[in-house]
Symmetry: C2
């Protein structure tokens, strides 16, 4: 039995290496040679899987964003409780960021720098549809503040990225009880 399609093992190693190195040094400060080395692969091999460095980053971004969204909406089926639904999705997102720290830090860097094409960025945004729908529903019911989804995102999801960054720099530790506390802060900021 083969669990990993053979042709993907080097590609996966390259994706992993890219995430790690970009987190530590930034995109333009990490040479292709270093990515290849950490992946245990020759420099030229990268170009068998990716057209260029930019293509590599874009693909990694899309994949990580996909994994993130899949986690965010895992097992999600809309119920009659907007707050319950939101709580579930929010905790899914928080859990992903705590579990897949490297992936989450990578996304945070992508979303805050000019390293990703605007096109790929737009594409990645589409995955958030279910959350936007939920928010609209909550607003229609007068449960959630009637403000732009960007404002809702800024006060519920974005702060998690900040806290994760601080944890990474040893200024903050994210414990389970703190997660609950942070959730309440998020909900209080957007509830009507």
């Amino acid at each position: 039995m083969r669990t990993t399609p053979k042709g993907q093992v080097k590609r996966d190693a390259l994706v992993r290496a890219t995430i790690t190195l970009v987190n530590n040094n930034g995109f333009h400060a990490t040479p292709m040679a270093q990515i290849a080395k950490l992946a245990g692969v020759s420099a030229g091999t990268i170009y068998r899987y990716f057209e260029s460095k930019q293509d590599l980053i874009n693909q990694v971004y899309m994949e990580v964003k996909g994994a993130f969204s899949a986690s965010a909406f895992r097992d999600y089926v809309a119920t009659s409780s907007v707050e319950g639904d939101f709580k579930q999705i929010w905790h899914n997102i928080a859990a992903f960021k705590l579990r897949e720290v490297e992936e989450a830090l990578f996304l945070s860097q992508c979303d805050n720098t000019p390293m990703i094409d605007e096109a790929s960025r737009q594409e990645g945004l589409k995955h958030l549809r279910p959350l936007l729908d939920l928010w609209e529903r909550g607003q229609a019911q007068g449960i959630i503040r009637p403000v732009s989804p960007y404002a809702l995102y800024a006060f519920t999801i974005y702060p998690i990225a900040f806290l994760l960054n601080m944890q990474q720099r040893d200024h903050y530790e994210i414990t389970p009880s703190r997660v609950a506390e942070v959730y309440h802060m998020a909900w209080n900021s957007i509830k009507a």
Copy 2:
């Protein structure tokens, strides 16, 4: 009468050019030659004012951070009202970010990437002391949630940066009435 100390005019031009170009392309993707060109200065001249590219970024960061803090606490004197004090500081910060968009975007990029030394970062953090003190006071009075200052920052100041970024990408427009709304979201998230 000379209003601008002659020796600083080229340095200022270089600082401005750095901010603009780093915002648009990122640190490692903007060559010194380009910075020089936009500043209307020869490439070699940069090294009369800055030791290296890294030194340039660090100095620009510290200066912008200083201007930011000065704005944040302009005319601030602690009163007996924690909420009033917070409101003033928060609006000072929001006003700075709306007025000095380029500077604010630059800071946001610095704070979210490995482009600044951890030392400079720590140094810049010190300027926030008055806000941290205010928060402690509010917590002692039971007015503000007893959580880490990083959590308070994540839900009050950090979201502004996100909204500014979205405005820059034409996904959101920050109007005066929205500022008031966003303030309430911030306060609701941290009030006890």
